[in-house]
């Protein structure tokens, strides 16, 4: 199911929760809406689901107008599946009754009982809930509840599946393992998925495309690789790939860093988005730095070191700037060591 969101604005009093948002979601696409809390991502999701009526703009699904300032198709007539952050399982119904619930609605009146039972069985089988079907939600673990919520959302085989931070109520271990289940469900159903999250690793891991939002506006839309390697805004750079913004000035494709003043070669080269050029900064991801004791680059001092097993995270103070560096286990420095930071491509270029 394709979704077309055109110039959608939502005002709460004077506050702009959504500010002229336009995006197109293709049939079968897994799209993640990513942003910090209060960025409008949940409002956008609720606009698609029909709980929020836009102040301006339109939402069309498969060419049918769902929302505008005049038209508002009721939620129950939109035929969506949805997974909630709190799971929203009805505590007085068993697992089976919860999953069966969507099939007993008016829009499924024509469904023969045989098919209804098959659909429930299929949804329970694909989420591994068969043995738990007579339990109440209160008797389930967090992961099991999550599976019931997923099964309930897919039992009608909706062409559009909305997920509102579905993993944020789970513990770290379970979060990772549930990602695979959600990916499997996407492959199995072929539905378009709109997935809201504030966790960039979830978005990067699962989505075909990511929408980055900030203060009610879309910052960037792109594939995980595009967003990660070629952020188009300062916010996208710092929020997703945790870029350090090295201060300095651009001359053509050469970047001269303030903290490396007086050196005779530029700190970085290469094409860069105009916003970085205008702001006078160069985005450098933490793993993009190389750290040496001597050489050309940003001279600084290690002020914090956190050992992480696979890598070591450093904070390096260069003049008034503080950079985050992820280095391999063999680049072992102590707090207080004087170091020089270079950008990896730059380092390679020099080596060549």
């Amino acid at each position: 199911m394709s979704v077309l969101i055109k110039n959608v604005t939502k005002m709460y009093g004077d506050a702009r929760a959504l500010d002229n948002v336009s995006v197109e979601i293709a049939d079968g696409e897994f799209i993640a809406i990513l942003g910090p809390s209060g960025c409008g991502k949940t409002t956008l999701l609720r606009t698609i689901s029909g709980f929020v009526r836009p102040t301006g703009g339109t939402v069309e699904v498969d060419g049918r107008l769902f929302s505008s300032d005049k038209v508002q198709v009721p939620v129950e007539q939109r035929g969506l599946g949805m997974v909630f952050q709190s799971f929203a399982l009805w505590p007085h119904m068993t697992v089976r009754q919860n999953i069966e619930f969507p099939l007993k609605s008016r829009r499924n009146q024509a469904l023969p009982p045989q098919q209804r039972r098959q659909a429930v069985e299929a949804a329970m089988a694909s989420t591994g809930l068969k043995k738990l079907q007579d339990r109440l939600p209160g008797e389930l673990s967090g992961g099991q509840r999550q599976r019931v919520a997923l099964a309930r959302a897919i039992v009608e085989k909706p062409a559009l599946l909305l997920m509102d931070e579905p993993l944020s109520a789970l513990d770290a271990e379970l979060k990772i393992s549930m990602r695979k289940e959600i990916q499997d469900i996407h492959k199995l159903t072929g539905a378009s998925i709109v997935y809201v999250t504030h966790d960039q690793s979830e978005a990067l891991a699962m989505a075909d495309r990511i929408i980055i939002m900030k203060e009610g506006r879309i910052e960037q839309v792109g594939t995980p690789e595009e967003i990660y390697y070629r952020p188009k805004t300062l916010f996208a750079a710092t929020f997703v790939s945790k870029c350090n913004l090295v201060r300095g000035r651009w001359e053509g494709d050469c970047f001269w860093a303030d903290a490396a003043a007086g050196q005779n070669q530029p700190f970085a080269r290469g094409p860069v988005e105009s916003c970085f050029r205008e702001a006078g900064v160069c985005p450098v991801r933490p793993e993009e730095f190389t750290m040496t004791r001597i050489g050309m680059g940003l001279e600084g001092r290690v002020v914090n070191r956190q050992w992480g097993g696979r890598e070591i995270h450093y904070k390096v103070e260069c003049g008034t700037e503080l950079f985050t560096v992820y280095a391999g286990l063999f680049d072992n420095y102590a707090e207080g060591d004087r170091v020089v930071l270079q950008r990896r491509e730059a380092a390679r270029e020099i080596a060549i």
Partner: protein
């Protein structure tokens, strides 16, 4: 045994002895009295009672009235709770105040006002008679049911309202996504979820109806409609000690019904638990659209008609003499002159005020100390006192009054004086204070006290600077409830008061029974004024004390809203 252990054990014993003497022994005496026969012990009293048709009628009436008035209360209370919790009606504050009016105003005043409104020669009945050819007789089974239903609706309302607000909105949204319309969602999600709260509120209303003395006393006694509580009263007042045994047997029967109800209610509360930690959600869930304005004004109009109009009629009637037409020429302050100059009435006001103040003082000291020992030291003696005190609150007031007579006539110098009333009030209401102080202490994290001790605070300083500032609001909410209830109390004093120790409630009751409706109305008006003043002050005090920030909007009705939770 170490010295400390010895001290502790003596403390437990003393606590246990107090619980026994003040709370349990009176009830045992009552039970024993019901089993006493001329030959020794036996069930003769019960057999004699049950053979009497009037007793069976009283039991039957009690059940009919309790069930029917509970139905009215449940429908009215739940509907209002739904409107206030979920819809987009304006003036919700006024709807709430009007809804809660019968909870705040003593039920005998409400009864008096309905009987004034629907008096046989009143203008409403005159109108009905001339227009439709019939009159409404309020002195009837139906009248008692109607007034009790109205009086108990707030109990259901207060029980259901927070529960409705606590149902997570996600559950509704999930149902909407699954293809249910707004009203289908309300029905199969919200109302199903709220069912235990409605049932538990209904059970409270049922218990209140069984316990209630004033409504059947005002309306039933003149019409010869006995219920258990008034039947006990009539037996004791009419026949004196000779009727004690049968009255005791009746009391045991009535208590059995009440305690069964209390136990059921406890089960229902357990079933609906698990929602305590969820925050109330005040957002609009059911927009009424075009129906909003009609529904709003119908609701307000209905509430004004049912809960306020009779009161206004009564207050108006107090400005006119008993006979004659109500024209401006007849306007008189004579009834008020009587209220403020009659020695008996003045004495009654003084008695009630003193009793209420003394009851509060004792309850706040004893109740908070008990709560403290229970929460912090898990002291079994204070738990025993609490359980005994909840027993004396759960049984109907008229039964407790009878038990008080049996018990305290054994102690010289108590029965017949004001002390018996004070003791009865404390016995009755102490559990309210224990509950609210317990809640206050539970809400206070023990680490706060530990931190204060760690940083070198002594006990007194810790109480003054840490514990009291953080708990006083919650502690006082119980005290306030006790003050209001004991100020306007009627059931206990109707049995226990003597010539010089009449209370306000009893004065109104006597005036009404003597047919002196206008003067009863004037005293009632004064009581309503005092009650309104009390609630007004309780709403203003936090403002004056600069505690406004903590007393946010939904909490302003704290003394009220805390009531049903504390009731049992």
């Amino acid at each position: 045994m170490s010295k400390q252990r010895l001290k502790q054990n003596i403390g437990y014993l003393a606590g246990g002895a107090v619980a026994l003497f003040f709370f349990l022994v009176p009830l045992c005496r009552l039970a024993l009295m019901s089993l006493t026969t001329d030959q020794g012990f036996g069930l003769d009293n019960y057999a004699a009672l049950l053979a009497e048709s009037r007793t069976l009628r009283a039991i039957g009436n009690t059940v009919i009235i309790a069930v029917a008035s509970t139905l009215i209360a449940v429908v009215l209370g739940s509907l209002l709770a739904f409107l206030v919790a979920y819809t987009d009606l304006a003036h919700k504050k006024w709807i709430e105040i009007l809804t809660l009016a019968p909870f705040v105003i003593p039920s005998y005043i409400i009864t008096l006002s309905w009987s004034t409104l629907l008096s046989a020669r009143g203008s409403l009945n005159q109108f009905l008679d001339s227009a439709f050819g019939f009159k409404v007789n309020i002195y009837s089974l139906g009248g008692i049911i109607l007034v009790l239903g109205i009086c108990n609706a707030p109990v259901v309302y207060l029980n259901v309202l927070p529960f409705l607000r606590k149902i997570p909105r996600d559950l509704e949204w999930a149902a909407r996504v699954c293809g249910r319309s707004l009203w289908q969602t309300v029905r199969c999600i919200d109302l199903t979820q709220a069912a235990p709260a409605v049932a538990s509120g209904g059970m409270l209303a049922f218990l209140a109806a069984i316990d209630n003395f004033s409504v059947p006393a005002f309306l039933g006694i003149p019409a010869g409609i006995p219920v258990l509580s008034t039947y006990i009263y009539e037996n004791v007042i009419g026949f004196g000690p000779s009727a004690f045994r049968s009255a005791a047997a009746l009391s045991v029967l009535l208590s059995a019904i009440a305690l069964t109800g209390t136990a059921l209610q406890g089960l229902l509360v357990k079933k609906s638990s698990g929602m305590e930690s969820i925050r109330e959600d005040f957002s609009v869930r059911v927009p009424l659209g075009r129906a909003r304005l009609p529904v709003q004004w119908i609701t307000l109009g209905f509430l004004a008609l049912v809960n306020i109009f009779p009161l206004i009629t009564t207050i108006t009637s107090s400005f006119f003499p008993a006979c004659g037409t109500r024209t401006l020429a007849n306007f008189t302050l004579e009834n008020y002159r009587f209220v403020f100059t009659n020695r008996g009435i003045r004495q009654a006001f003084l008695n009630s005020a003193l009793l209420a103040a003394a009851t509060c003082l004792i309850c706040i000291l004893v109740g908070t100390a008990l709560a403290c020992r229970k929460v912090r030291r898990r002291c079994p003696a204070s738990r025993l006192v609490e359980q005994s005190a909840s027993l004396t609150y759960a049984i109907p007031g008229i039964v407790l009054a009878l038990a008080m007579i049996f018990h305290w006539t054994m102690v010289p110098g108590v029965y017949g004086t004001i002390w018996i009333l004070l003791i009865a009030y404390v016995t009755r209401y102490l559990v309210l204070q224990i509950k609210s102080s317990t809640n206050a202490m539970l809400a206070l994290d023990v680490s706060l006290e530990e931190a204060a001790a760690l940083f070198g605070s002594g006990r007194i300083r810790m109480w003054r600077q840490i514990i009291l500032p953080l708990t006083i609001r919650s502690i006082l909410s119980g005290t306030f409830l006790i003050f209001m209830q004991s100020l306007t109390e009627l059931t206990l004093s109707s049995m226990l008061a003597a010539a010089g120790t009449k209370t306000i409630g009893l004065s109104i009751f006597s005036l009404q029974q003597g047919g002196d409706y206008q003067r009863a109305a004037a005293v009632s008006a004064a009581v309503i004024g005092a009650v309104a003043l009390g609630y007004g002050l309780s709403a203003l005090l936090p403002l004056l004390a600069g505690l406004k920030k903590r007393a946010r909007k939904p909490r302003q009705a704290a003394p009220l809203a805390a009531a049903p939770a504390q009731a049992l």
